[in-house]
Structures are given as structure tokens and as C-alpha cells.
């Protein structure tokens, strides 16, 4: 068994490494520097960072209270809600984006939002909506697990010491859950940075307008600019590695 197990592990690690090497192998310092100084790449990096930050923020604002509701309260239909939350994770992002596109473009509510609040379809705002949709389940999943691991008696004791429910949540449960929520937020952020399918459908792939890093890779490959696509891929690889390191770091925090 030991031999089979390690053989399987080695096999998969080799695949991962070959992907990493395929990207890094073709990169020279020169192409990387060219890419980093190109206006298009700078725009894509900046847009990706900004949109992922805002989308993660919204994901936290919505996801943390949702997770709390699922962790602390018992109500009818909880199982159904729970499955619905998984849908954005399981559904192909392209289909999620397609759904969002029809919702904002073709329905009454969607049109109302477009006319009175904000234009979502084929705009940078659409990027945030697409990323939010895909990333929020990650926040809910991780935060829920953290809340469930915290004995609700801490909150009750805090309330018996004079805190209101909301105050006991803010002063006791939330700080106790901080680490887990932060790890969830990093995961969600990484998901936002890599979001492609839903963004493509909802925000479109307009050069220098809705061009996030993954869209930039797509656009450059489609016009045959492999060198630039590889350089952007390399940037994303670095971001992915930094994400893994930061999650490990957060987990090691006391």
C-alpha cells in the first residue's frame, strides 16, 4: 500500500511541477520586465487587485452574517438553503455568469438596477458582481465552520455580563473567529483573482476596460501574443503561491 500511495502522490506532484515549470521555463527576465512595464498588464493587475478587494469585502459583509445564521439558528429549510449556497461553487462559472447576464439584462429587477442604481453588464462593476457571486460561498463555508466550533455559551456569558446580542457577537464571537474568517477571506480573494468564466459572460472581455488578469491571458492568447500571456500567467502563479503562504501564516497565528 505504501508503495502505491507514494507512487500516486509522486505522479500528481510531477504533473503540478510540470505545469509550474512550463510557465516559468519560458519566462526570461526580459519578457517579464517588458510585461510589467506594459500599460495593459499594469491595468490588468490594478483592476484585478481592486475588484478582488471590493468583491471580497462584499463577500465578507454578506457571508459572515449568513454563516452566523446557519451556524447558530435552527430554522425550517436550512438544508435547502445550505445546498443553494453550494450551487455557485458547483455550477460552471460560465453558467453562473450567463445567469447573471440574463438577470441584469433581461429581467425587470435587473433592468431597474441598471437604470436606477448601477450598470452591471459589460462594465467593471460586472467584474465585482461576478467575483462576489463565486467567492461568497467560500466565506460562508469557512466562517460557518468557525462559528460552529465556538461554543455559543461564550456569547451567552457575555450577554449575562451586560452585552446586547449584537455587542456580544462583535466583542466575543467575532474576535474569536477572526483567524478562521481571515483564512476564508484569503481563499475568497484568491478565487476572485482567478475568476474568469463568470466575468467573461457578465463583464465581457474588453481590452483595457474589463480586462482582469485571467481575461488578459485569454485576450493575449487569442491574438497569438503568447509571450505576454506567459508573463501574466507567471504573475498569477506568484500570486497563487503568496496566497498559499499567507493562509499557512494565518493558520499559524495565535
Amino acid at each position: 500500500m505504501r508503495a502505491i500511495a507514494f507512487l500516486a502522490l509522486t505522479f500528481f506532484i510531477l504533473i503540478v511541477l510540470s505545469v509550474v515549470l512550463s510557465i516559468t521555463g519560458k519566462i526570461t527576465p526580459q519578457t517579464l520586465q517588458n510585461a510589467l512595464s506594459s500599460e495593459e498588464v499594469q491595468f490588468a493587475v490594478s483592476l484585478s487587485l481592486k475588484s478582488a478587494f471590493v468583491a471580497t469585502l462584499f463577500a465578507l459583509l454578506v457571508g459572515v452574517p449568513s454563516a452566523y445564521a446557519l451556524a447558530r439558528y435552527h430554522f425550517r429549510g436550512k438544508e435547502v438553503l445550505d445546498s443553494l449556497i453550494d450551487l455557485p461553487v458547483v455550477l460552471p462559472p460560465l453558467i453562473s455568469g450567463f445567469g447573471l447576464l440574463i438577470f441584469f439584462g433581461e429581467t425587470e429587477i435587473g433592468r431597474f438596477i441598471t437604470e436606477h442604481i448601477v450598470r452591471v453588464v459589460f462594465t467593471p462593476c460586472g467584474i465585482i458582481v461576478a467575483q462576489f457571486f463565486v467567492a461568497t460561498p467560500f466565506v460562508i463555508r469557512t466562517a460557518r465552520a468557525v462559528f460552529e466550533s465556538i461554543d455559543s455559551k461564550y456569547e451567552l456569558v457575555a450577554q449575562s455580563l451586560g452585552s446586547s446580542r449584537f455587542e456580544s457577537f462583535l466583542r466575543v464571537t467575532l474576535p474569536m473567529a477572526k483567524k478562521g474568517i481571515l483564512a476564508g477571506a484569503i481563499l475568497a480573494w484568491a478565487r476572485c483573482m482567478g475568476e474568469f468564466g463568470a466575468t467573461l459572460m457578465l463583464a465581457g472581455a474588453t481590452k483595457m476596460r474589463t480586462e482582469t488578469l485571467p481575461i488578459a491571458v485569454f485576450l493575449n492568447i487569442s491574438v497569438g501574443n503568447i509571450e505576454l500571456a506567459l508573463a501574466i500567467a507567471f504573475i498569477m502563479l506568484v500570486i497563487a503561491i503568496l496566497t498559499i503562504i499567507s493562509i499557512k501564516f494565518v493558520a499559524s497565528l495565535r
Binding site: D151, K153, L156, A158, Q159, G162, V172, K178
Partner: protein, 346 residues
């Protein structure tokens, strides 16, 4: 005064049922019961952590059954639930509303409990005894009307147990706050309580002063729980104007009792062991007994197992006395039953 009225709460294993219970201001009240008797649930209902199915909790004339937890002025004190992300100082100060007086008040209660040196520490670095002290300080800091203690002395080592017990007694006396304490340890209960309620399967078997419960346990369960080790089955009959218990041995009783079947309870400390040579006692309730075993109970006391013509009795005596008398397995002694409690079967 805290009043529990017509309380019903259905739990998985049992139903909590209390028709009426009044706990006086400043009282040290102990709920005594085995695990699973509903003690913790009862405490949580008083705190507002759980809602009763039925009934009312009244504090100083006000119905607080549906009041939010934070408006009750009743604090749950629990060493296991110190907030782990806060220092001891921040934990104690947690409930103090007036932030300007916070530091001062924290110092004050920390001093009262002898934990000033722990203020900068995190709860996880404290021993269990220290955690309980911090929890108590945190509760006292907000000057509540009632402090609830859920097995506060549980799983502490002997010495810490004793120290904290004395501390609880001292703090209760000096603050005058109402303490409601649940425990399964009857020694703890009698050392601390003004009054005790013995709980079994969610119902109060007996409620009364410590002396009352010790001297007049209402049934066999309570008797066993409060340390009545000898329970003899028999009946009470009249003999020459005396009430006499008959059942294995014959014991003349003081006072008036109903005739008929009864369980006679004898506390181990109420069996006096008399050395056989030195018999100055009148022969009422004096028996010849054979020692079956002697073993230490505490540092200063021993337990003696006795056989009185086939009836087994458990006695306790001072260790030095047992040594002086040379008590050991097989010794023949005289014993005197000083006091006995007839208990009606429930």
C-alpha cells in the same frame, strides 16, 4: 428575592418541574443533584440562556422570564468561559459600563480575589483555580443581584478546591450578593449553603436549611445523598411507651413517629465506638459489634465497618481514637447508636 414559579421544561431525559421556590436576597443557595438531574438547565433558565416551556422567573417582584439576558442583573460565572482573546484584566473589565471607572474597579475586585498578579495574563495560561477566580471577579465587577455558579469547584485539586471554597464563602459574606450554586458534591453544598435544594430527575426532592436536610432527609434518595450510610429496613412498634425500631437490630427512638414500615437512617458519625472495657453508657441502643474493616477516610478520620449480629453498619471516627483503641479487623467493640432518622419510603 428570586422566585421560580410553576416552572416546566421538557428535556431529552427528563422534565424539569418546580412548583415554587423562593431564594432570598443575599442567600447562598445550592442546588444539589447528580449529573443529569437538570441542575445546569435550571441555572441556564434563571440566567435566561434557555426559555422554560412554562412558568415564570420573578426577580424582586418583576417577571423576568422573557427579559433579554443582558437586562436581568443575573450573571453566569463560569471559569471555562473566560474570553480567550482578552487578557485577565480585559475579561474582568468586560461588563463594566463606565469606562472611566473600569480600571479602578478591575483593580478592586482583583485585589479582593488575590489575582492582581494575573491581570496581564491570557486565560489559557491560568490554572483552573485561577480561571474560576477570574470568572468570579468578572461577575462581581458589575455588581449583579445574583451570581450563578455552575460546578465552580469541579475538577480542581484538593487544595485548590478547599481554598476556593473558603474564598467563595468569604466573598459571599463580604458582598451580600445572592449566590446560586449547583453541584453534585454534598460536602461542598453543606460547607457553603444557607439552604439546599436536592434535585432528582428534574424535581426538588427536598428544600431546606443545611441542618434540616442533614437531620431530616425526607426520603431515602436525599438521605443517601447527604451521607446517611446506614439504611435499615424495618418497622416502628410501641414498647413500654417507647417508639422502637425493629429490623435486624432494635433501636429505641426519641420522639413520636408513625407506626409501621420504615427505613431507618443512621449517619456514620452518629455511631459511637466504645472500647469494651470502658462501658459507662446506659445500655440503651448499645450493641456488641465485630470490626470487619478499618480504613482511612481523610487525614484525621477513619471509616469502620461493623457487624452487629448479622447487620452491617458503617461508622466513622477520629483516627487518633481508632489508633488508641487499637481498632482493627476482628476487634470486638461496643457501639452506641446516638441518633437515628426514621425515613418514610417515597
Amino acid at each position: 428575592m428570586l422566585t421560580i414559579e410553576n416552572l416546566r421544561k421538557k428535556l431529552e431525559q427528563l422534565t424539569l418541574e418546580i412548583d415554587r421556590l423562593d431564594i432570598e436576597d443575599g442567600e447562598y443557595f445550592v442546588f444539589l443533584g447528580l449529573s443529569g438531574a437538570g441542575k445546569t438547565t435550571l441555572l441556564e433558565i434563571i440566567a435566561g440562556f434557555r426559555k422554560p416551556d412554562f412558568g415564570r422567573i420573578i426577580l424582586d417582584g418583576m417577571d423576568i422570564t422573557d427579559k433579554p439576558i443582558n437586562e436581568r442583573k443575573i450573571v453566569m460565572c463560569h471559569g471555562r468561559y473566560l474570553f480567550p482573546h482578552l487578557s485577565v484584566e480585559e475579561n474582568i473589565g468586560y461588563g463594566i459600563k463606565d469606562k472611566r471607572k473600569q480600571k479602578e474597579r478591575v483593580k478592586e475586585v482583583a485585589k479582593m480575589l488575590g489575582i492582581e498578579h494575573l491581570l496581564k495574563r491570557k486565560p489559557e495560561t491560568l490554572s483552573m483555580g485561577e480561571q474560576q477566580r477570574v470568572a468570579l471577579a468578572r461577575a462581581l465587577a458589575i455588581e449583579p443581584k445574583v451570581i450563578l455558579l455552575d460546578e465552580p469547584l469541579n475538577s480542581l485539586d484538593r487544595l485548590t478546591h478547599e481554598n476556593l471554597l473558603l474564598e467563595l464563602k468569604r466573598i459571599h459574606e463580604s458582598t451580600g450578593t445572592t449566590f446560586i450554586h449547583v453541584t453534585h458534591d454534598f460536602i461542598e453544598a453543606i460547607s457553603l449553603a444557607n439552604r439546599i435544594a436536592v434535585l432528582k430527575d428534574g424535581k426538588i426532592e427536598q428544600c431546606g436549611s443545611v441542618e434540616d436536610i442533614l437531620r431530616n432527609p425526607r426520603n431515602v434518595f436525599v438521605a443517601k445523598f447527604v451521607g446517611v450510610k446506614n439504611l435499615l429496613m424495618g418497622k416502628i412498634v410501641e414498647e413500654n411507651g417507647y417508639y422502637v425500631f425493629e429490623g435486624g437490630i432494635r433501636i429505641i427512638l426519641n420522639g413520636n413517629y408513625e407506626f409501621g414500615n420504615v427505613v431507618l437512617g443512621i449517619r456514620p458519625e452518629d455511631i459511637l465506638i466504645i472500647s469494651s472495657s470502658n462501658c459507662r453508657f446506659r445500655d440503651e441502643n448499645v450493641f456488641v459489634a465485630r470490626v470487619l474493616d478499618v480504613y482511612p477516610l481523610t487525614l484525621s478520620t477513619v471509616r469502620v465497618l461493623l457487624d452487629v449480629s448479622g447487620t452491617k453498619l458503617v461508622a466513622e471516627t477520629i483516627k487518633s481514637k481508632a489508633v488508641r483503641m487499637g481498632l482493627r479487623r476482628g476487634s470486638e467493640v461496643q457501639i452506641c447508636v446516638m441518633s437515628a432518622i426514621p425515613i418514610r419510603q417515597a
